[in-house]
């Protein structure tokens, strides 16, 4: 019998990524709607003591797959363990965070299980027992409602869209027995970014700069760090070599959905808008009153970013004090 919701959680070096809490919270809502159980699966090496961190979001059961071979994320070993878990739980829906790692895993798993996968899902709707998933296409220019034929239904949810909620449930934690071969890929080096850098796709506030910065990001960085946000960039700024590719927002960069997106010196090209138009609030600062970005913003300031942004930082600092 196919039933239940399974959430595959992502951790790195013993700490859950934020998306894991988002996925378990969404899993709880879905399991309640379907009147079924929620299982959270955690994979890693030496991670048994972190599983409890998920309990607040309300799983009925936590499965811990703890094995030295799972120490580093590797597509093949993780796919094998997730496929075993799915075979033994036979869930109706499997949720995965659509991070870089989650996308890699979800796509391989879909092929392994011959199961339909909705990538970058931003909303799940349950109507008359039928599940409908919403996902952006063409970099967010359009939204598609889709359904999946068959089970398990694999759903990779986009970061920063679904809220983290608390829910108290009696929760049991069990060991999930791992049978896995040595993966064919080997990690030879890993550079972890300093802990205080906020990841662009996870940030609640993104302050972005474009060609209008002329390459000077000091004011933008200062504002971003004050509000515990991340710095983003247009492709022009990346092409100029002012910012790394990993900062690029847009149709060929990252898609972000923060609570606040501040676009500074960005004209608002269609490819840029594709990457940030799902932000909850958009502020545009541009010296050209005709810049297309203003048509997509909630609040606009016509002015020189080198004058406005430092003053904004000052004003925000005053509010915070």
């Amino acid at each position: 019998m196919t039933q239940g919701v399974l959430v595959i959680c992502e951790q790195r070096d013993g700490a859950f990524r934020k998306i894991s809490f988002e996925a378990v919270s969404e899993g709880r809502r879905l399991a309640d709607g379907l009147n079924t159980d929620l299982t959270a699966l955690v994979l890693g090496g030496d991670i048994a003591d972190i599983a409890g961190d998920l309990e607040a979001c309300g799983p009925d059961k936590i499965w811990v797959a703890d094995d030295p071979l799972l120490m580093d994320y590797r597509t093949e070993s993780y796919t094998t363990v997730c496929a075993q878990a799915i075979q033994s739980a036979s869930p109706q829906v499997v949720l995965i965070g659509a991070s870089a790692q989650g996308k890699d895993l979800a796509a391989r798993l879909a092929a392994r299980l011959d199961a339909g996968l909705v990538m970058d899902c931003i909303a799940i709707r349950l109507e008359d027992g039928q599940l409908t998933y919403t996902r952006p296409m063409s970099g967010g220019k359009i939204l598609a409602d889709v359904s999946i034929t068959g089970t398990p239904q694999l759903v990779a949810i986009r970061s920063n869209v679904m809220p983290i909620t608390k829910s108290s449930h009696a929760c049991t934690t069990e060991t999930f027995d791992v049978q896995v071969d040595e993966p064919r890929t080997r990690v030879v080096d890993k550079k972890v970014e300093s802990g205080d850098k906020v990841e662009l796709t996870e940030a609640a506030i993104v302050v972005s700069g474009g060609r209008g910065t002329g390459g000077d990001y000091a004011a933008i960085e200062e504002l971003a760090s004050l509000v515990n946000g991340a710095v983003g960039a247009s492709r022009s700024a990346v092409d100029e070599g002012w910012r790394p590719h990993s900062d690029q927002v847009g149709q060929t960069g990252k898609v972000v959905s923060p609570s606040l997106y501040v676009a500074c010196g960005i004209s608002g090209a269609i490819q840029h808008l594709a990457g940030m138009s799902t932000s909850k609030n958009i502020v545009a600062i541009n010296k050209d009153a005709e810049a297309p970005i203003f048509a997509k913003a909630d609040y606009g300031v016509v002015g020189d970013l080198f004058e406005i942004v430092p003053e904004l930082t000052k004003a925000v600092r005053q509010i915070k004090e």
Partner: protein, 262 residues
């Protein structure tokens, strides 16, 4: 070194997407079609590896007649041969079915390395590369920003949230491209002339070891029930004032009191 590159033809990113009458497809009349930008990176990566190691670069693309245009573009950039899966029975296949067809075409020839884009910017599935690797039973590296191929080993840099991971495997393997990997070259005029004489093989479903019921509309597991545009925003509220400090203070108040993000 036998390298196969997966290339898809997609609407230009400048395109304004319009929803068709049926509400589940997009209007294609006014669209300019181009090579998926991530696949340009894939072709460039293949050419660089070939230049260093020797070998051949085969372009594999599935789609209707006009798909030949992107195969020719890749041949003009310097690829050696093209393979075009063109069969009405495969139209309407979802990502998983497309991967089955592409994998079947690859399996039928020698290959050491397969390169795909991390995503096609039409449907943004991020799925075909990994699925092809699974069907071929080879290791995969997705979203690669740097690649080194030496002898029979491939080493890839992958940027994930909060870290850069460097990993390696023995060939055969598949990787997918992320921006930062390289700057794709343009096709030169002599390249375009030469491309006209390069061979393109056409395959139909009958040439591929894939059961017909798993492809096309009937094979779909993902069914689009409706397309719509993202909700429109309220008209922009412009904030002005006497000077920068005044404007900034009004804006900060809005962020703090109205939308409560600060």
């Amino acid at each position: 070194m036998e390298i196969v590159v997966l290339v898809k033809q997609v609407p230009d990113t400048e395109s304004i997407i319009q929803i068709g009458e049926d509400n589940v497809s997009i209007k294609t009349d006014d669209i300019k079609w181009v090579m998926n930008p991530y696949d340009e990176l894939a072709v460039e990566a293949a050419l660089q590896i070939k230049e260093a190691q020797g070998g051949t670069v085969t372009i594999l693309s599935m789609g209707p007649d006009k798909t030949v245009e992107v195969i020719r573009t890749a041949l003009a950039m310097g690829a050696d041969t093209g393979v075009h899966i063109n069969d009405p029975a495969t139209v309407g296949s979802d990502a998983l079915s497309r991967a089955k067809l592409l994998a079947a075409a690859i399996r039928a020839r020698p290959f050491d390395l397969v390169i795909a884009g991390m995503r096609a910017v039409d449907e943004d599935n991020y799925q075909v590369g990994a699925a092809v690797a699974e069907y071929l039973d080879i290791p995969q590296f997705t979203q690669v920003t740097k690649v080194v191929v030496e002898n029979d080993t491939i080493k890839c840099h992958q940027v994930v949230e909060g870290a850069t991971v460097v990993a390696e495997a023995s060939l055969p393997a598949l990787f997918t491209t992320q921006r930062g990997l390289n700057e794709p070259r343009y096709a030169s005029l002599p390249g375009i002339m030469k491309a006209k004489k390069k061979p393109i093989e056409t395959l139909t479903l009958a040439d591929l070891d894939v059961s017909p019921e798993t492809v096309g509309p009937a094979g779909r597991k993902i069914n689009v029930t409706a397309l719509r545009f993202p909700p429109e925003r309220e008209p922009v509220k412009m904030i002005d004032g006497e000077n920068a400090a005044d404007i900034a203070s009004k804006l900060a108040t809005v962020l703090h009191e109205e939308i409560k993000v600060i």
